[in-house]
Symmetry: C2
Subunit: 344 residues, 2 copies
């Protein structure tokens, strides 16, 4: 089936996604999936659209043109999806990879709404919509018969939401605990070796792992958003990141990490949730773990999530290697899910 | 949809499966799945069949009757599936849980063939068929439009085959390594604490974890069968357990484990595979692991499998809690897969 892709946001993840679609072309074709990038819109660069498909030179030329000033992304999505109604595609999919305003989940939530309203499925690498508005967006998607997917929101492309939905039918998830923020995990690992907080942080920024404004990571907001996303989907919590009890790391965390190591323990920033529905409780906090805890053995770039389930007991999934292309892969997996549902 | 279940083998896993279907009734009903146990056949007890469904008193009465002498399980499967053709079910599923002859994969392979021949899907907790005859059985299932599923063959009900098939589309698996045999892992853990081989083994047998004849476990055959199953499905290897380079544990392993610990390393029996197709190489051997290896931190009852993939890098899935009902759950997951495919 021919699927028109409209990219909303075109940063590193979006670019790697387009490459990965090319590298996965044979595998996707074997599943009957032929994706075509027909449009891109970003806040800075405005939009480009061609229902016959955008090739690499066209995208490069667009990126090099001067910024057009303010463009309404929501309007661009609506217009592009209108034009796609008469184009020869089996489906339109909006690929949402804008950056997150952690206080509101916007503008991504508005992008998701505009996409569903325009008859598109939405796949997002953004944790905002699922962390802030999961129930409303899931209901809206169900109402219009489209998918709202976000495998990349937690632990990059490592299957979390797909793991539970596709491979654990009839399983009850009682709770979860995980190390899900790479910047703080890198920094804790460095501080355990005696590195100072500010030195570790500067290194994270130099390596492009932490943002220029690292407060989202070090203050625990990123982990809280992921905890809210997990609680919404796995525990039916209808919560937001603001409701997550939250702790971050700071200069005082280094001595604590060293002291824990001296006692044979490991200090990690753990995001967890337990209970169900309105009774679910989420928190992000520094916890001392036993050295043989699957969360304790993670090096800087590792992430892991433990699910406490019936009847499978505790199941852990671990990501040992980091990197942008894992997040880009999540969008490939979500695209395949859309296609599988179209066939079902 | 109403699904008729024919149980081939009725040991601990089969019995727990029937209970678990009851406990999962609401979740299965929400997916539109109504399973009915219509027949059971075992080598010792012969068969019982009632197309209107077997209730618990009927099964108990059957179990208490004297053994009828020799009954051909393959013939029983064929006859039962014939009778089900006129019964009011949407599908017949054969649930294979007999014990494995590790030298041949039989009689389970014959049971799978008889089931497919009779028009049934097959779900099996048995590693024999997938370890010895994966390609032939998968081809036969495809030919008749039925499923051959075996999530319980490796790591009980923890998703392995479903993980790759359902949640990692377009991913390439380069190889795997895992701790997948619980008896030897329990014994290694005990021997690290100074317990003698024969004492640890006797305890495993007393606790029902090791078989009366423990050679399948301690000689590495169980792990080799699992390595062959994984290589067949994930690496397209068309191999058998006999082709797996194999090492087991013995009285001499205890001192090695203790010596490794003294050097800060951990001795584990690791099943691994790498390469693809005819070039795939599988082995089971004792390996000294770094203490922060996700396979090293497993306690006795833990199992874990690391997949080396493109583009997700190394992904590990860990089972922290053991037990029969995890294997029984695998058969629930496989039943749901059958139903999902019927709908697709």
């Amino acid at each position: 089936m021919r699927i028109a892709l409209l990219l909303v946001g075109y940063g590193n993840v979006g670019r790697r996604y387009v490459e990965l679609l090319g590298e996965s072309q044979a595998a996707l074709a074997a599943m009957g999936i032929a994706p075509v990038v027909v449009g891109i819109v970003t806040r800075r660069q405005g939009g480009i659209f061609d229902a016959s498909g955008l090739d690499s030179p066209a995208i490069t030329a667009w990126l090099e043109r001067p910024s057009p000033g303010h463009v309404s992304t929501v309007e661009f999505i609506g217009d592009a999806l209108d034009r796609l109604r008469v184009a020869p595609f089996d489906r339109s999919v909006v690929v949402e990879t804008t950056t997150l305003d952690v206080a509101s989940g916007e503008p991504a939530i508005s992008h998701v709404r505009a996409a569903l309203r325009g008859g598109a499925d939405v796949i997002s690498a953004n944790k905002g919509p699922v962390a802030f508005a999961w129930r409303a967006l899931a209901d809206e998607a169900a109402r219009v018969g489209r998918s709202f997917l976000f495998e990349g929101a937690v632990m990059d492309g490592i299957p979390i939401f797909n793991l539970v939905r596709e491979t654990m039918p009839a399983v009850v998830v009682h709770g979860f605990r995980g190390v899900v923020n790479s910047t703080t995990n890198f920094m804790l690992t460095a501080m355990e070796r005696g590195e100072r907080f500010d030195v570790a942080l500067a290194r994270m920024q130099a390596e492009g792992i932490a943002e220029a404004d690292p407060s989202l990571d070090v203050d625990g907001w990123d982990a809280a958003a992921k905890a809210a996303a997990l609680a919404n989907v796995l525990l039916d919590a209808e919560t937001t990141p603001v409701a997550v009890e939250r702790e971050g790391i700071g200069p005082e965390t280094g001595p604590r990490a060293l002291e824990a190591r001296r006692r044979g323990r490991v200090l990690k920033l753990v995001a967890s949730g337990a209970g169900r529905g309105a009774g679910a409780r989420m928190r992000v906090r520094l916890e001392e773990l036993a050295p043989d805890d699957p969360l304790a053995v993670l090096d800087g770039q590792g992430n892991a999530l433990e699910l406490d389930t019936w009847p499978l007991g505790r199941v852990v999934i671990t990501q040992r290697d980091g990197g942008l292309e894992k997040t880009a892969y999540a969008l490939v997996a979500d695209l395949v899910t859309v296609a599988r549902r179209m066939r079902a």
